[in-house]
């Protein structure tokens, strides 16, 4: 084992870990709440910088051969995950003063980074769990909502079921091959035996569960609504991204064959339709975003239908754009003292009159999520469907596009509320906050870059 390699290859993870350690130390020594935010932000920034450097250097290394390896793609994915967490942290400060919140956040990110680099199923499993479990606690931490415990329990029980399912799948794959390498999964995809296929199905089902694909989505709307705004943002973007990276890690570039294709196509398709349709009548913003994220999970898994390098390209680009846009929405969301009321969609009425910047940012976010050009969401959608079409699934692609059409309406409804309806008297004031502004600019800048120069990101694969 080469220690310098361990130090360098895992630098982002180390920095996150360092952040956690410092935070815990501070908690023990001083217990001053304010430091938590600063330390977490610095740790994240440093980790992001480290990941970016590794990517730019095209660094490759395997400090734990067969379990953990780093390549440019993995570094980029890590950078995306950590960078997405930056604005989330920025908007967290007003809600969370406790150090433990930041520790949990960093821990979850650590897990996400781990799974991106994992080469073996146990590592992947560890990463997945390390990513998920702090979030159960984070959901619980929303003091503003009385229902946060309920949300956390629903998330935990379904998450735990997913863990068990995943492990059962892993066990079957292991039983079939005698190996714990992630490559087993890709190999099993091409097999026609019952055992490996059953293993694959179980693993896929657990990923579906974590990413909230219909019919495994039950937890998502409740958890999103019950959690606090930054945690919802975190769940909707980073967790989803982590799960998709895990899927990418497993599927690699292997083609998906017949009976499995239907599972991988139909359930995401149903998710798109379900999510987009159910979102139409929602009155809670976060719940609406939850249904939206169910639909987006559908698009993301759809991208796995196509084999080859296009798959990673589509998934990563989509995840990045989707993440940025989602976080952007949460950064500008007006927040009142009464969380339940300020979460109502009606509270957005006339937002443009009160806070034009927030309204415009939210509009950009919604339109991008709807996949309308010239916003980056369109390029992402385009990539996904190009991939599906390239794999020859014309029918699925057309159905998917029609499903995505269904989603346009409720995104536009948000814009309608903000721009076209006039405010009712008792709207929460929601003053703009400087950190939130910084957070939204942090999202806006890459969004603009990705809108006009999608090639900048695409050419990195």
């Amino acid at each position: 084992m080469n220690w310098s390699e361990v130090a360098k290859a895992m630098l982002p993870e180390h920095l996150l870990l360092a952040g956690m350690v410092i935070l815990l130390t501070l908690e023990v020594l001083r217990g001053r709440p304010r430091d938590g935010f600063v330390v977490a932000f610095l740790a994240l920034a440093a980790a992001a910088a480290a990941a970016l450097t590794l990517h730019v250097e095209s660094y490759t290394g395997a400090p734990f051969s067969g379990h953990f390896s780093v390549g440019p793609d993995a570094s980029l994915a890590k950078f995306a995950l950590i960078a997405l967490a930056l604005p989330v942290v920025l908007i967290s400060r007003d809600d969370f003063a406790e150090t433990r919140y930041y520790v949990l956040l960093l821990a979850s990110l650590y897990g996400a980074c781990l799974l991106v680099s994992s080469d073996s199923l146990p590592t992947l499993f560890l990463g997945l769990e390390l990513m998920s479990m702090p979030v159960y606690a984070l959901v619980l931490l929303a003091q503003l909502r009385a229902d946060s415990a309920e949300a956390a329990l629903k998330y935990l029980v379904l998450g735990g079921t997913a863990t068990a399912t995943f492990l059962m799948g892993v066990a079957l794959l292991y039983g079939w091959s005698g190996s714990m390498s992630t490559a087993v999964f890709a190999a099993a995809l091409g097999s026609s035996d019952t055992l490996p296929i059953a293993g694959v199905v179980l693993v896929v089902a657990s990923l579906f569960l974590k990413a909230a694909i219909v019919p495994f989505h039950g937890w998502a709307p409740d958890a999103y609504e019950g959690a606090s705004v930054p945690v919802t943002a975190f769940m909707a973007t980073i967790i989803k991204a982590g799960v998709l990276f895990a899927a990418l890690r497993l599927f690699e570039t292997a083609p998906v064959t017949r009976p499995l294709v239907d599972v991988l196509a139909v359930l995401p398709l149903v998710s798109m339709i379900w999510g987009n349709v159910a979102a139409i009548r929602q009155t809670s913003f976060r719940r609406m975003i939850a249904y939206s994220s169910i639909a987006h999970a559908g698009y993301l898994f759809f991208a796995l239908l196509g084999a080859g390098p296009g798959r990673a390209q589509a998934v990563i680009f989509y995840v990045v754009v989707y993440g940025i846009m989602n976080v952007l929405a949460f950064t500008v969301l007006p927040r009142g003292t009464d969380d339940e009321r300020s979460d109502r969609l009606e509270s957005l009425q006339g937002l443009y009159q009160r806070r034009p910047f927030a309204a415009i940012m939210l509009a950009i976010s919604m339109l991008s999520l709807a996949g309308l050009p010239p916003l980056p969401g369109f390029v992402a959608k385009f990539l996904v469907f190009r991939n599906v079409l390239a794999a020859g699934y014309t029918g699925y692609a057309v159905l998917g596009l029609v499903a995505s059409y269904l989603g346009i309406y409720f995104y536009l409804r948000v814009i309608q509320y903000m721009f076209m309806n006039t405010a009712t008297a008792d709207q929460p004031a929601g003053h703009p906050r400087r950190l939130a502004l910084a957070a939204s600019l942090l999202c806006l800048a890459p969004a603009i870059v990705l809108a006009f120069f999608p090639g900048w990101l695409l050419d990195r694969f």
């Binding site: 369109f378 079409l389 059409y405 346009i408 999608p454 050419d459």
Partner: protein, 513 residues
């Protein structure tokens, strides 16, 4: 590259204007208007220069830029002027300043956002016309939705939200399937030629099997037909037009609808020529139904804007008929009719806006004898009415006449070969000439003539700004009506190429006998 710079300026000027207006301080409404207006005027001058320097005797693109954009997929920033878009680009640039001027005193709410959106849609429209890359085209095509959604939804009338959602949902549905077809086409070309590109010049020669072509063309056609709009996909138009603010209606009628017909001309037919030929009877039939149907519906409306809206359906039917004739004269007529309709319908909507500003009513029944009260207004309204009817010497005649002539030139050989459908359709289309006169004159008669009445009795006649707008439009209408040869010389080569590409070997040049 020097010349191409001009075209890039033309395209990006509205975008720069957007940024500039956004950065202006709040509450300075007149400054916002002035900046937007100067931006539009500047842009019009650039377009005028480009139009002047556009050489109709040279085939292919002029002032072209071709820069890779997303290298991986062969997407490029490819823009250029050719014979098919040169007139429409000029029209767009011409109407731009008029829209701003027309909204000068009409828009008081969120002035800044309004002007940003107008510049945005101007940018998107120019981009759609100029794009020579399928991906770029689609991006601009869809980008038009957003500003239009806001323009109708924010500054529109009572049912604006219904109207704007209807508009967007209608249009977006078409685009979604077009997206699928577009990707499929590019992937197919990739499969057969080995390199992936969205360059239109490379895509139009693809040898797809007829069946595939039919599917893809249907998807494209759906999107374009919604935009045109052709029967039976037209019901968004009356609502959108009626609810939109004046500027929005002008943009819609003036330019946006031409996107549909331009799409057929630039993409739909040339990309899938065999399918286009196979589908021509259907398209012709729908075009003719649109002509008659739109005219009939215009006849029974009681809202001035709705009458003009339905008349647009009818007029664009002529465009489609001309295009579908695949006859040189018909194609030229279709192009001319697009420009003409942009001017005429745009002008009429501006005039309705002017009167609406004074009385806040668009009901035909509220008006009468305006000729007495508002003589200047009435003169312009009469001229525009006549142009809409297609009276000779106006641009409306030139376009309609050539489109119909083209349809006949195509119909007779078919008739002699035993296929009577085109002939029957062409004859019905000519009847639209009568219907057009019927509803427009009835409108003019009801509001201009008879005993004088209006919701707010003492009305002031048009002011200098309004008169100037209308003089510009009327001058353009007569210039095209009297001297159509000038613009047609710029488009002839492109029209011929289009015809040869789509009609294949069996060209009937109308009059070569």
């Amino acid at each position: 590259m020097g010349e191409a710079t001009w075209l890039n300026w033309l395209l990006w000027l509205p975008a720069l204007g957007m940024v500039a207006v956004t950065l202006l301080p709040r509450g300075r409404d007149s400054l916002v208007r002035s900046v937007t207006f100067s931006c539009m005027v500047l842009q019009f001058f650039i377009a005028a220069i480009l139009y002047q320097r556009f050489d109709g005797t040279v085939a292919g693109l002029q002032f072209a830029t071709d820069v890779p954009w997303i290298r991986d997929w062969g997407v490029g920033y490819r823009i250029g002027l050719d014979g098919l878009n040169v007139l429409l680009v000029s029209l767009t640039a011409f109407l731009g300043p008029l829209v701003v001027a027309g909204a000068w005193s009409a828009v008081h709410k969120d002035v800044k956002l309004f002007h940003v959106m107008v510049l945005f849609i101007q940018f998107a429209m120019l981009g759609t016309f100029l794009a020579q890359d399928l991906f770029l085209f689609y991006v601009f095509w869809e980008a038009m939705l957003i500003p239009m959604f806001l323009i109708i939804g924010l500054w529109g009338g009572e049912r604006r939200i219904y109207a704007t959602l209807k508009f967007v949902l209608y249009t977006a549905f078409g685009s979604i399937l077009m997206l699928a077809a577009l990707i499929y086409l590019v992937l197919y070309t990739h499969g057969s030629s080995g390199y992936m590109t969205f360059d239109l010049r490379h895509l139009s020669g693809s040898q797809l099997p007829l069946n595939t072509q039919l599917w893809l063309l249907s998807a494209f056609a759906l999107s374009f037909a919604i935009k045109v709009p052709m029967f039976p996909l037209h019901t968004w138009l009356p609502d959108a037009h009626v609810e939109a603010p004046t500027g929005g209606s002008v943009i819609l009628a003036g330019v946006l609808l031409k996107m549909g017909t331009y799409g057929f001309m630039k993409l739909g037919f040339p990309l899938f020529p065999e399918a286009a030929r196979a589908m021509m009877p259907v398209i012709m039939t729908l075009a003719v139904i649109s002509i008659v149907y739109g005219a009939c519906l215009a006849l029974v409306q009681s809202d001035i804007k709705k009458i003009i809206a339905y008349s647009s359906i009818s007029h664009l039917g002529y465009v489609m008929l001309g295009l579908a004739s695949l006859d040189l004269i018909g194609i030229q007529g279709a192009i001319l009719q697009m420009v003409s309709h942009g001017l005429v319908a745009g002008g009429l909507f501006l005039m309705v806006g002017m009167i609406y500003e004074r009385t806040h009513s668009r009901a035909v029944a509220d008006y009468g004898g305006l000729a007495k009260m508002l003589p200047v207004f009435s003169v312009f309204f009469t001229i525009l009415t006549l142009a809409s009817i297609g009276l000779p010497t106006t641009s409306g005649f030139a376009g309609e006449f050539m489109a119909l002539l083209g349809a006949f030139n195509a119909a007779w050989p078919a008739h002699l070969a035993g296929n009577d459908l085109p002939l029957i359709l062409a004859v019905i289309a000519v009847s639209g000439v009568v219907l057009g006169a019927l509803y427009m004159l009835w409108l003019a008669q009801r509001i201009l003539f008879g005993e004088a009445r209006a919701p707010h009795a003492p009305l002031t006649d048009l002011n200098a700004r309004e008169t100037a707008i209308l003089v510009a439009i009327v001058a353009a209408i007569f210039a095209i009506g009297l001297f159509p040869g000038e613009p047609l010389a710029k488009t002839e080569l492109a029209a011929r190429e289009f015809q040869q590409l789509v009609a294949g070997e069996t060209i009937h040049l109308g009059s070569t006998r």
